[in-house]
């Protein structure tokens, strides 16, 4: 555990979440009436909120951290912060960008921690969680095998990126945030967010050139 104290929820985590765009993992969206009950911490509504968003948040956190145990720790902290700040949720807006902002802040705290520096030497290439995906297999074992190998290659390449580039490509291309939302989340300019994303894709493209051709 690092001597650094974890970052408390940033101001942006409690503000009205910015307008969202179609994300690569768009899923069911709770209607405003339900979100109103979530905001008042109605247990049934909170359970529905968790069911609606947990899988997407966990997937992002796991892709960012690359390890199941760390992802479980981090996503627990994410939902603790969400629970504490839930009364400030705007029922008229999609909560996903807000959740993604909190998740990426938690992951950034984790990267800064001493424990993460100790563990980075052992990147879990064979983490079973990466193989247990939410997509159903086809009836073609060979195709499934090739798809699995491809996914492992992509995940390995993402894990090998510096944290800022990894975060940039996962927030934009995996979670569907805009550059404006990413810039607000990271406290950088819009241009800086775009450039970081371009650098991330260039690095990934180079790493995957042989595997994806």
């Amino acid at each position: 555990m690092s001597p650094d104290r974890p970052t408390p929820p940033a101001e942006s985590e409690t503000l009205v979440p910015p307008p969202s765009v179609r994300g690569v993992e768009a899923g069911p969206r709770l209607d405003p009436a339900v979100l109103e009950r979530v905001r008042s911490r109605d247990p049934e509504a909170l359970a529905g909120f968790f069911e609606a968003y947990f899988d997407r948040v966990f997937s992002l956190v796991h892709r960012l951290l690359g390890d199941r145990t760390q992802a479980e720790d981090a996503v627990s902290e994410v939902f603790l912060k969400v629970h504490r700040a839930i009364d400030r949720l705007d029922p008229a807006r999609d909560p996903m960008p807000w959740l993604v902002t909190i998740a990426s802040n938690v992951c950034r705290d984790h990267w800064r921690s001493g424990a993460e520096r100790m563990r980075r030497a052992a990147m879990p290439v064979d983490d079973p969680a990466v193989r247990e995906t939410l997509t159903a297999g086809t009836n073609d074992p060979e195709r499934d095998f090739v798809r699995g190998e491809r996914e492992r290659a992509v995940q390995d390449a993402i894990a090998a990126l510096p944290e800022d580039l990894r975060e940039s490509v996962l927030l934009y291309d995996y979670s569907g945030l805009t550059h404006e939302e990413i810039a607000a989340s990271l406290g950088i300019t819009h241009d800086a967010a775009r450039k970081r994303h371009s650098r991330a894709l260039a690095a990934l493209g180079k790493a995957l050139r042989e595997r994806l051709a």
């Binding site: 555990m1 690092s2 001597p3 104290r5 765009v21 179609r22 690569v24 993992e25 911490r41 247990p43 049934e44 909170l46 359970a47 968790f50 069911e51 947990f54 899988d55 997407r56 966990f58 997937s59 796991h62 892709r63 199941r68 992802a71 479980e72 720790d73 627990s76 902290e77 939902f79 603790l80 969400v82 629970h83 504490r84 100790m118 969680a129 990466v130 247990e132 995906t133 939410l134 997509t135 996914e151 992509v154 995940q155 390449a157 490509v169 996962l170 995996y174 569907g176 805009t178 775009r194 371009s198 894709l201 260039a202 990934l204 493209g205 180079k206 790493a207 995957l208 050139r209 994806l212």
Partner: protein
């Protein structure tokens, strides 16, 4: 302004390799969480148990003092001194460890190298004596309780030596040991005045009416305290009292020990354990 596919119009053009990489990232599927972890976190989130700091701490009733005047107590003590001493010696040991009434554990537990199914409560209870070695590699936490005194949760992957339940009246100190894995403890009303030490290869943690976790991991020992205070020693070095909400780490490679905020996952796990075990700890005596 965006293209139809959502890309910002002002994005610089990407080369073919970068475009292929982008498509590959967008095609990545979701990652499934462990179902048990997911269910546990979801239940804690919905019920509010995820944030024990926000819950009103349950008031712990203080044991009532035996009524009676000083003169009466002196008379009783004088008349029944030998009888009481004999009675106390026989009945001083604390309530035996029992498997908790609620349990989600599945698999075999090794007690003194004998494998016992986790659902065979009778055999496990019989084997749970002070000094027994326990190795648990099943699924779910193995939960034991010494009624009124202390509840002990043993996580999968743990090897430990079981402490004696703290005695009821005198010599109220007992010790156990964790060689690897994680144990969580929470005390009941009758624990008041007792101490229980859990030692690891690097450190020891002594509880005096608390809820805590002792984690023995490759990096070293981590003691997380949810409530109360825990005294931690690292060999002969006194780490002091760890207060509620804090952790103490003692590293196996000799690095300087670290004190900090307790792990969020431990805060949740210990809060849930305390809430779940409170009614089991205080079940009325049947004997």
């Amino acid at each position: 302004m965006t293209h139809d596919d959502g890309r910002d119009i002002m994005d610089e053009p990407l080369d073919p390799d970068a475009l292929r990489a982008q498509d590959a990232v967008r095609a990545l599927p979701g990652v499934a969480a462990d179902p048990e972890f997911r269910a546990r976190l979801g239940a804690a989130f919905a019920s509010g148990a995820i944030d024990p700091a926000a819950a009103t701490p349950a008031e712990r009733p203080i044991a009532a003092r035996r009524p009676g005047s000083r003169l009466l107590r002196l008379a009783l003590a004088t008349a029944a001194l030998l009888l009481v001493a004999g009675f106390a010696w026989v009945f001083n040991p604390g309530p035996r460890w029992r498997v908790a009434a609620l349990q989600n554990a599945h698999g075999n537990v090794l007690i003194n190298d004998e494998a016992i199914p986790a659902d065979d409560f009778e055999s496990i209870n019989e084997a749970l004596v002070a000094g027994a070695t326990i190795e648990w590699n099943g699924s779910g936490d193995l939960e034991l309780v010494s009624r009124g005194q202390v509840a002990l949760g043993i996580a999968p992957g743990t090897r430990m030596t079981l402490p004696a339940p703290p005695p009821r009246w005198f010599g109220r100190h007992s010790e156990g040991r964790v060689e690897a894995g994680e144990v969580r403890l929470t005390s009941g009303t009758r624990f008041h005045g007792a101490t229980l030490t859990i030692a690891t290869p690097q450190a020891s943690a002594t509880m005096t009416g608390t809820t805590l976790a002792v984690i023995e991991e490759p990096m070293g020992t981590c003691v997380c305290v949810l409530e109360g205070t825990v005294h931690v020693m690292a060999g002969r070095h006194d780490m002091g009292m760890v207060p509620a909400g804090q952790l103490q780490q003692v590293f196996a490679d000799g690095r300087a020990p670290h004190r900090g905020e307790m792990r969020p996952t431990e805060r949740m796990k210990l809060g849930m354990m305390r809430a779940a075990m409170a009614p089991v700890l205080e079940q009325p005596r049947r004997d």
